[in-house]
Amino acid sequence: MGALNIVTYIFIVIGLFFNVVGCIGLNRFPDVYTRLHAATKCTTFGSIFLIMAVIVQSVGIWAMEGALSSQSILSIHAVIALVALLITNATGAHAIARAAHRSGEKPARAVVDDLEGKDIDD
């Protein structure tokens, strides 16, 4: 159990680091698009590590008990949560970015804007 706990702590520390970086980025970046970079990438990656910590602990309990219990089932649920997180986080970011551009938000300090003035509607 000792080694398992160490792995869990390492995952939690990495996860927290990336989540904190995401929060700092949210405050430091100049406009909505660059902030979305920080908000989507860092929090997704950080949460992956937090979920992996849950999986490690839960699989450890599973291996110890040798049977499915409410705690070992947590690993399956965590995997499903991970997949849902990966899909919804990226999709949500698209929705926000598209809405921002359509409402006239200009990318700050941009060197190029191919989408400028284009009206893509559906």
Binding site: C42, F45, S70, N89, H94, R109, V111, V112, D122
Partner: protein, 170 residues
């Protein structure tokens, strides 16, 4: 056919969520029955949205390629996060919106590509031109050499993800 496939996928997902709830195999009888009812209801509601044209995504070869793709993808994702963390801490950004033409034909491939782009190095997909299937991508660190030519070369922007998306769902 579409109804059946949707119902089966929904039912499998429900079974995965309630695994270990009883002694009948791994589930109890109530969960099995309720899951089946809900799967049928969900399938009746969404069958026209969930599968648009064809059943080609049922091909196990595509699933296998998707699984292989996870490895370069996760590596690129780790790279992206270190890169964004670096830019957050130093504030060195050079952003811009570029257009790429990956020439993908199916919606599924385009969705995979757009999601991959959002989760990987310094790029965020913003909009899609549904007639030509061009993607507009916000790039946090624009490289000047890409700006010279007009159908932009997508390799510096999103590696070879368009090729992978074409192999999985093209």
């Amino acid at each position: 056919m579409r109804f059946l496939v949707t119902a089966i996928v929904a039912y499998l997902l429900y079974l995965l969520l309630t695994i270990g709830s009883g002694t009948l195999l791994l589930w109890n009888a109530a969960e099995l029955i309720i899951g089946a009812i809900f799967a049928l209801v969900v399938a009746a509601l969404v069958k026209n949205r969930y599968l648009k044209r064809s059943l080609r995504m049922l091909n196990p070869v595509r699933w296998f390629i998707w699984f292989i793709y996870l490895f370069p993808f996760l590596f690129a994702m780790a790279q992206a996060n270190v890169d964004v963390a670096y830019r957050v801490l130093t504030g060195r950004i050079n952003p811009g919106i570029v257009k790429i033409s990956p020439k993908l034909k199916t919606d599924m491939a385009l969705t995979i590509l757009a999601n991959s782009i959002t989760l990987t190095p310094g790029t965020l997909s913003i909009n899609v031109d549904e007639e030509t299937n061009d993607l507009y991508v916000h790039w946090i660190n624009v490289k000047p050499e890409v700006l010279k030519e007009m159908p932009r070369d997508y390799h510096p922007i999103c590696n070879s993800f368009p090729d992978w998306a074409r192999r999985i769902a093209g």
